[in-house]
């Protein structure tokens, strides 16, 4: 595993903690909160909510790759499963949105525990293939249980409901504040995780697993924990998405969704704290503008993938961080 997390010249760029950068990070967080506060007045709220859901998803993915050194190619499983559970409980059990989202997140975490425990038994490229294969297994499961997932149709017309039974979320603005709050909570939680002693150990394992083992850390327990956290955050994103778009479908669990979240993180900057947000914004905006092109969107995404890997491995935020010589 030591070769996955590598030095700055060759490998995936990794974020380093630096006390002097904490102030900058705090400012960026405050700036983001302010941006979120004015966004619904200057942009179409549904678009912003879509960006926020995918940004949270990409942040979750990046937590695992950037700080655990583990490339999962099956994150659609947690996103999609949470989306189904959230939609199903909101529609068929009449759960209020907060409980629907929570149940989706909990199921995603449980799924992450099972899949993670299996996947961490192998390292490197095998880990990636296992996560992809497990996610594909879940895809077939969803395809074959139309009673739960609605099959090809998905679960449509999911009620947005009333938050805490009080606030009607049918209004886009009201829903926006909920989504923004969830996103900010997710971002802060992730920020807290990577700066905690636990996060430091994860980074140590990423950088040098044998050394971490020799220091007495139970490496697999840390890997599994970061996997479950990542799955839960991805689930939170998926569950919220189901409420926003009132839809859960096979697209959410398909491997192309796993590819999309990799692309977002890659464009924004692997292993940077804020990169996935920028990446999600770029990719969601691109999909919106290119929607009329139909199948060409796939080709464009492929081209972006190739260009990023060949010439833009640092990503947007990685480039900015390099320019100001501070980790972001």
């Amino acid at each position: 595993m030591a070769d996955i997390a590598s030095d700055e010249t060759s490998g995936i760029p990794v974020a380093k903690t630096d006390r002097s950068a904490d102030q900058l990070h705090r400012n960026v967080l405050i700036g983001l909160a302010l941006l979120l506060a004015i966004a619904p007045f200057v942009a179409y709220p549904v678009f912003v909510m879509k960006v926020l859901c995918f940004a949270l998803f990409a942040l979750a993915f990046n937590l695992l790759l950037g700080y655990g050194g583990l490339l999962s190619f099956g994150h659609a499983a947690y996103f999609g499963m949470a989306s189904y559970v959230s939609a199903y409980t909101a529609k068929n059990w009449g759960l209020t949105p907060e409980f629907a989202i929570l149940s989706g997140t909990a199921i995603a975490a449980a799924l992450g525990l099972v899949f993670g425990a299996l996947a961490i038994r192998r390292q490197g490229i095998y880990f990636t293939m296992i996560t992809l294969a497990l996610a594909q297994m879940l895809f077939f499961f969803c395809l074959q249980t139309p009673r739960f997932t609605g099959g090809e149709d998905g679960i449509q017309a999911v009620p947005r409901g009333r938050l805490f039974g009080l606030i009607d979320l049918a209004d886009d603005r009201a829903l926006y504040w909920l989504v923004a709050a969830i996103f900010m909570a997710g971002l802060l939680a992730m920020y807290r995780i990577i700066h905690s002693p636990f996060g430091e150990v994860c980074k140590a394992i990423r950088d040098n697993e044998p050394r971490a083992i020799s220091l007495g850390y139970r490496v697999n327990r840390y890997k599994l924990t970061v996997f479950v956290l990542s799955a839960a955050l991805a689930g939170l994103a998926g569950a919220t998405k189901a409420i926003v778009f009132q839809l859960a479908s096979l697209t959410d669990v398909h491997w192309s969704m796993s590819g999309e979240v990799v692309l977002m993180t890659l464009v924004g900057g692997l292993g940077t704290v804020f990169g996935p947000i920028a990446g999600a914004l770029v990719i969601v905006a691109m999909q919106n503008y290119l929607a009329s092109l139909g199948a060409w969107v796939t080709v464009v995404q492929g081209v972006v993938f190739v260009i990023c890997v060949l010439a833009f491995r640092e990503g947007i935020v990685g480039v900015v961080a390099k320019a100001i010589k501070k980790p972001l």
Partner: protein, 295 residues
């Protein structure tokens, strides 16, 4: 007509044969993946797309140039292999010095491009490809009806797999390849042109995928998406077998195809997931894979 464990033998052996055919595709594709991974340290995500390209080159050859199946069987691997060589020289070569996860991401992007382009051109409903006249019809073996073409696919795949094994394990070229897999720097120091070997290996792995694609064209329709789902199953096959052994990849591929075929007879609901379930079991019992060396 007698019955076997409650299943008519025609259905049973028909599915067994179909399972063996799928197994031969798993074997050829995982063989290609293993050879490429050994030397390039890249998991070739575009393998499924290259398999699909093989089928399309056969279809295009027939419909645009009037080339028959046998010519396609020879030409498609060469054409797609050449495309693969170009990919290696122009793109993959540029990222050898970075983390090999980037190789996976690059080839994933390439797969998206290739599949998207073919989908734009030919739609996603699939195009028919006729079985060559020499192999139409079949033989009644008493317990089952054997279509000639299906028998041919299994035999041809076995021959290609064994030939590949022979080439890698028993010839001088194979010895160079194994040496370069073990230690490229030292092999280079002995005067062997390793970069050329890398390019040729990638081309060869891709050609194998294209060969499987041509074999598949008359059985499944020629479809831009035909490789996308298959490659994920092949990844699971690779996890089960481990990439350390050539013979291991062949044996694992054929047996998993067989198991999948049998599942289709006895419990069809699980036929799409059975290989993934086996992967889970193998991970629990023998994490390094059936033929893998423990890390």
């Amino acid at each position: 007509m007698f019955e076997l464990i409650g299943v008519p033998p025609q259905a049973l052996f028909g599915q067994v044969l179909l399972g063996l055919i799928n197994g031969s595709f798993y074997a050829i594709l995982s063989l290609g993946l293993a050879v490429i991974f050994g030397l390039l340290n890249v998991i070739n995500f575009a393998h499924g797309a290259q398999y699909m390209m093989g089928a399309f080159v056969a279809w295009m050859g027939l419909n645009y140039l009037g080339l028959n199946y046998w010519a396609a069987l020879l030409l498609a691997p060469l054409v797609v292999g050449a495309v693969g060589i170009a990919m290696e020289r122009l793109l993959l070569k540029r990222i050898v010095h970075v983390d090999h996860l980037y190789g996976l991401l690059l080839t994933f992007g390439l797969a998206l491009i290739i599949q998207g382009l073919f989908r734009n051109q030919y739609g996603s409903s699939g195009l028919p490809y006729q079985i060559p006249p020499e192999l139409r019809g079949g033989q009644n073996l008493g317990f089952m009806f054997l279509p000639y073409y299906r028998g041919w696919v299994v035999v041809a795949s076995l021959v290609v797999c064994v030939a590949t094994w022979f080439m890698i394990e028993k010839t001088k070229l194979g010895a160079y390849l194994r040496a370069a897999t073990e230690n490229p720097t030292l092999t280079q120091a002995f005067g062997i042109n390793v970069p050329l070997l890398v390019t040729l290996t990638y081309g060869f792995g891709v050609a194998l995928a294209a060969f499987a694609g041509v074999l598949a064209a008359p059985i499944y329709s020629v479809n831009p998406n035909m490789g996308a789902d298959l490659i994920i199953v092949v990844f699971a096959v690779v996890v089960i077998g481990g990439m350390g052994s050539i013979m291991g990849a062949i044996v694992t591929g054929f047996s998993l195809g067989l198991v999948e075929g049998l599942t289709k007879v006895f419990y069809p609901e699980a036929s799409a997931t059975v290989i993934f379930i086996i992967m889970v079991l193998v991970l629990l019992v023998k994490p390094a894979g059936l033929f893998g060396r423990p890390a």
